[in-house]
Amino acid sequence: MAKGDYLGEFEQIVLLAVLRLKDNAYGVPIRQEIEDRTGRSAAIGAVYATLDRLEGKGYISSHVADPTAERGGRAKRFFQLRPEGLLALKNSQQAVRQMMKGLKTVWSYS
């Protein structure tokens, strides 16, 4: 895996949110999922900046749906995880697990 292929912490969180939401992964539920599960407040601009970067890397794809009235006639942009994104996520999680190996005793004291 090349150096640039590793995912940042927030990139992993956003990818996991997209993975969990399946067919309903667009800005509002992604942001809410991140807040509900991590307790971390994420501005919509930061979420989209990360989604755009992940799409640029080929880890996710997106499509724009029809405009809806409750959004003032504006369209939703749905995101899907691509196989490359899933692989990058697995590799990043694997890297963290490898780094954690043997730290169980230290971890339990902290």
């Binding site: 942001r31 501005a43 919509i44 009235a69 959004r71 003032g72 504006r74 369209a75």
Partner: protein, 176 residues
């Protein structure tokens, strides 16, 4: 549908990149129906613009610094020229008159600086504008060593909204 603050929505719309002009405002309007708090909406808009500015600064730091310095130089030159001309035309003035000149003249000079900074920056220019606002505040704090506090506060009250207006005008011009 409950309408969100129009000024916040326009601000966001003007500075957003082309591909996000439908989605980000749409998401915020959808969430606003549940939150129903104008302050929440404003906070989200300002945070999103801050994120966009930070992203722009990281992508092209050299251009952001150039935009910031050029904007500040234009603004400072225009302010000095305004004071010079005002002094020549009207002679010594009372403190109130000086504050008014500083506020009104400073606002228009800052608009010029903001416009120039946004023009030099890439994209919507938000990185140059936010950079110029921060730089102006830093220079204002540095000037406290030689200038009275009221003077710096008056300048900041005029400069920051002026810079934002200049950036807004440039972004609108770039869109049309």
């Amino acid at each position: 549908m409950i309408k969100p603050p129009l000024a916040a929505l326009s601000l966001l719309y003007v500075f957003l990149p082309e591909q996000e002009r439908e989605t980000i405002p749409g998401d915020l309007i959808e969430e606003f129906q549940l939150q129903q708090s104008p302050s929440w909406f404003w906070r989200q808009v300002l945070l999103s613009l801050g994120d966009l500015a930070w992203l722009g600064m990281k992508r092209s730091p050299g251009r952001t610094i150039l935009a910031m310095l050029a904007g500040y130089l234009a603004m400072a030159s225009a302010v000095m020229a305004t004071f010079k001309v005002w002094g020549l035309l009207h002679g010594p003035q009372s403190m109130l008159a000086m504050i008014l000149v500083e506020l009104i003249g400073g606002f228009f000079c800052a608009t010029l600086g903001g416009y120039l900074a946004a023009r030099i920056s890439r994209g919507s220019g938000i990185n140059g504008i936010i950079g110029l606002c921060l730089f102006s505040v830093v220079m204002g704090v540095v000037s406290l060593a030689t200038e009275p506090l009221w003077n710096e506060v008056a300048i900041m009250c005029a400069f920051v909204p002026g810079v934002l207006l200049g950036g807004y005008l440039r972004a609108r011009q770039a869109r049309s």
